[in-house]
Symmetry: C2
Subunit: 576 residues, 2 copies
């Protein structure tokens, strides 16, 4: 059976075929495979809207039914240029292939020929005709660069079976309802400003409260394991990253600055080199090891603006970052400590986790620092740790960090999607580069290792995942407003105000609402997904109680007000 | 009587006279008045060290005794150039004066002539001969630019009387012992790295703990007044600062960035425009006013490297910043709220405060945004607020912020020095520029005002002031290690460990120390200025107690261990 990858790739070619039939003057850009299907970027010669999609889809189905063969043709650059003389984007790609000395191949299906390195079905009959669907169009730019040609991207879904396609579409429909951009706006958690720019969220009081509670929880879990807070600036002289190797390897992703005196600085895209400098301020005895530094701080990466969106891709990334400086013999124990923190944290929200062993790709050594021996040793160590922990894990070459392999945790959310969240990384390279040591039992300098970890990964990304996981119905302990006090009418205002003050003085985030009709106030509470409403009428005053209305469980009846306080405090403390 | 300013300025000329007698080929740069005296920057033609200072001082005394007259001579640029043809720095200054169209004047004393706009004694006999003193030399650069000529700066103290000079010298001697750079290193609070660069402190776990405690205290005080946390990124597109006016007015102090896509960004040197964008995310009813946003976050200013030093002048400045968005009628009450916070905070540390009304200088309108009417209205409001509060205040034209006048709080420390600390600023301009409004009782848009406040000013500066104020002996609640548990010998290790665990589980930051001799361990505790040592021998075990040794009060005798816990908790809670 053909692989899903080759089916999707082949469908991209069929899409291009259909496009050229619709608009023979269209310029084709690129048509890669993506997570759920494929897309093709196109510059149309005439106007194009999603109303044209059914026509293209029909043509694609016809091509699938026509049992066309995919045939590879190897050509010289000159032959390729002749073939694509009316396709300027393809010509640009051909120039690059020639410069890099790579072979050039074309793939022909029926009368359509595309520049392509391959990976196709042999015959279109291998493509299930009822398991793909053109879904939408979006704007894009040639090379993702907004200064270059504006293109139209046509997206298609493709799966092995009709059922898989339907299940995916249902998941997407549910996901759209939960889209964190929509939920975040409804709950007034964050906003963007045209003047500040895309990818730079501004967090409201409610949103900041959530960030703060999440971060405090991670600190609470870390506190038991001896982590200590440190503080570093967001910029550094170029020298630090030359020594660490990031200056060269991070390339365009670094925000670079020239000072008034002509010095070169960068905004930090990660914290490890700064923390390494902090560790290195004085010698450490083996008795002082490990040193566990942690800091919640923003890092900055110069992403292309076309790739920014909501909280999942931002320029300002808040990492809950930690670095353990330890001896080789302490690595396993420190990994297990962190793993415990990660398990507890994600368990609290009902995420199930599996672990990706993100290793380096031996085929692209230029993307990494360090020798094959160091990589082997570090990856063997991670493999052994995952195995001893009995984790649900899989290996992924090419997913490592610049300086070492990672354990990446994948969390499955309430609608079945998987998100990359926490990460633990083993780093034997920066200790070499910065010459980090401790003084061992024999009084000798001993090379140490660093363990990097971010429990939430980034607060922005985790918040997005959590908002979509919960559809905005956050647990009590995380809700910006935990309780609204709703007197039925004026007559209960005094008693309601007493209840409100009692809640406030117990540290519960309460609001009292007396304006508007009761119905309107209840609706307002529901829109804001407040976990509990306390409705107060004369009956409640008589029995010194309130009627408790739960967001998740409906009307829970009358409850005496001291009992209510205990119940809320317990639920907050237990983070249920 | 001559003003101290004119005495100091005249002494700078006498210093230059003495320098030219010592080294006739020396090049003179500039010789301004400073807080405690004066300096002159000089490029010597031969080697110069502080051993030469007594000779220069003797010459200056001789010139004072010679009753020389200061005579002003107005000249053309050409005449000035002729006069200073061998003085390249003066020639550069003359070029600039000519370009800016300013008049050029010289001042002659005896045979010495300097380029100078004036402000001198009439005769050197007005200078008290026993109240000035050359103190030290330091390296500097022409124009503060390390790419230009390296100069030697000669510092002199100058006062009205010998007694004032002596008092100042004693204060400086005491200050040197308390220098926060020295104390910070001894207590392991922060460090600098050559790779990261000057002006960019790295905060250790101990230092970060202090920052965190200070900040939490400010939040505690703010919490009672309805402040809410918000979160913004550290960068913005240029557009935000063009609209706010900072892009033009901040000039070289801004760290500017060009992104990979050629967009212009800046690192924020202040938070107000970001917070204004956050406020502006949706309309606010008058019922929702004031909105009080606060955030502890780093801002960055591109200072000249010659001006960086310790924590008092840094590139990465942590502001405990707040912005109140309120109606005009709410300004006074909001100022008083903040003033309460400031009074409580500084009172806790035993600082006495006076208030500087920092107003704009009508002579340099180009340094400010906004019309004279808006400035008058804002300054009148501050004057009235200070007067109603009955504050010890004085007015200082020229000290305002770009966008409005300020109340700056000056704290007097334990050795009598005054430091600028908290600031409250009234801003009617940014609400205009960003068109910030609320919807008033009539349903109309109403222009609001912004009140800026930083209670600590910056955490870096405040920490420096506090370390020098306390000489590193921080109060119990702020001490990174609050208690050390010191068993006299091996025999008490078990009991000591129980005491230690009890302290830890009560949230007290304790350390237990068993290695080395008791004497050495006591000395180590003292070096780290730990507030309490608990010494445990057999006698203490018998009575379930410890011997309490206070850093500040000496031996306090044996104390039962539960009583000890209560005592420590009370002292921490009361922040005494």
């Amino acid at each position: 059976m053909a692989s899903l990858e080759s089916i999707r790739h082949s469908l991209a070619h069929l899409l291009a075929t259909a496009v050229l039939e619709h608009d023979p003057m269209a310029h084709l850009a690129i048509g890669p495979v993506i997570d759920n299907g494929f897309y093709y970027d196109i510059k149309f010669s005439s106007s194009f809207s999603d109303e044209h999609l059914p026509k293209l889809q029909a043509k694609m189905n016809e091509l699938v039914g026509a049992r066309l063969v995919f045939e590879r043709i190897d050509v010289s650059p000159a032959q390729a240029r002749e073939q694509f003389k009316d396709q300027p984007f393809k010509l640009e790609l051909i120039d690059e292939l020639e410069q890099s000395g790579q072979p050039i191949s074309l793939y022909q299906t029926g009368t359509f020929i595309d520049l392509c390195r391959g990976g196709h079905v042999e015959n279109t009959q291998e493509i299930p005709g009822d398991a793909f669907k053109l879904t939408k169009i979006a704007g894009s730019y040639w090379r993702g660069d907004e200064n270059r040609d504006r293109l139209i991207r046509i997206y298609g879904l493709a799966f092995n079976t009709k059922e898989e396609l339907q299940a995916y579409e249902e998941q997407m429909l549910e996901a759209e309802k939960r889209n964190h951009k929509k939920v975040g706006k409804e709950l007034d958690l964050f906003t963007f400003s045209d003047l500040v720019g895309p990818g730079l969220p501004l967090w409201t009081p409610r949103g900041t409260l959530i960030r703060h509670q999440l971060d405090a929880y991670v600190w609470e879990l870390r506190g038991k394991h001896g982590y200590e807070r440190v503080t570093i600036p967001h910029i550094t002289k170029r020298d630090l990253y030359e020594k660490s190797g990031h200056w060269e390897k991070y390339g365009d992703d670094l925000f670079r600055i020239n000072s008034r005196e002509g010095k070169e600085y960068a905004i930090k895209p990660m914290n490890c080199p700064h923390h390494a400098q902090l560790f290195d301020r004085h010698p450490h005895s083996y008795r002082q090891m490990p040193q566990r530094y942690a800091e919640t701080t923003m890092v900055y990466r110069d992403e292309q603006s076309g790739e920014l969106g909501g909280l999942t891709r931002v320029l300002s990334i808040t990492q809950d970052d930690s670095h353990v400086f330890c001896r080789h013999a302490q690595v396993k124990q420190e990994f297990f400590r962190i793993w415990d923190i990660v398990d507890t944290f994600y368990g609290t929200f009902g995420f199930s986790l599996r672990v990706r062993l993100s290793f380096h790709d031996p085929k692209t050594p230029e993307k990494y620092l360090g020798t094959p021996e160091v990589w082997k040793s570090a990856e063997d160590a991670l493999r052994a740790i995952a195995s001893e922990r009995g984790a649900d894990s899989f290996e992924a070459p090419g997913e490592a960090a610049l300086y070492g392999p990672k354990l990446d945790f994948m969390a499955k959310d309430s609608i079945g999607r998987e998100h990359q969240v926490a990460t633990i990384q083993l780093d034997m390279l920066q200790p070499e580069r910065f010459d980090l040591t401790c003084v061992n039992e024999k009084g000798e300098k001993e090379r140490i290792v660093m363990i990097h970890c971010a429990v939430m990964g980034s607060i922005e990304r985790f918040t997005a995942v959590l908002l979509e996981h919960t559809a905005g119905s956050l647990p009590l302990w995380l809700s910006p407003v935990q309780v609204t006090v709703l007197p039925v009418s004026e007559g209960q205002a005094g008693y309601a105000s007493d209840v409100f003050e009692k809640l406030k003085s117990s540290g519960i985030r309460a609001e009292i609402s007396t304006e508007d009709s009761l119905g309107k106030r209840i609706r307002a509470s529901k829109v804001m997904k407040v976990p509990y409403m306390l409705v107060i009428g004369d009956k409640e005053i008589e029995s010194n109680s309130v009627t408790l209305e739960s967001r998740d469980k409906g009307n829970l009846g009358m409850i005496e007000s001291d009992e209510l306080l205990e119940r809320l405090k317990k639920e907050i403390q237990e983070r249920t």
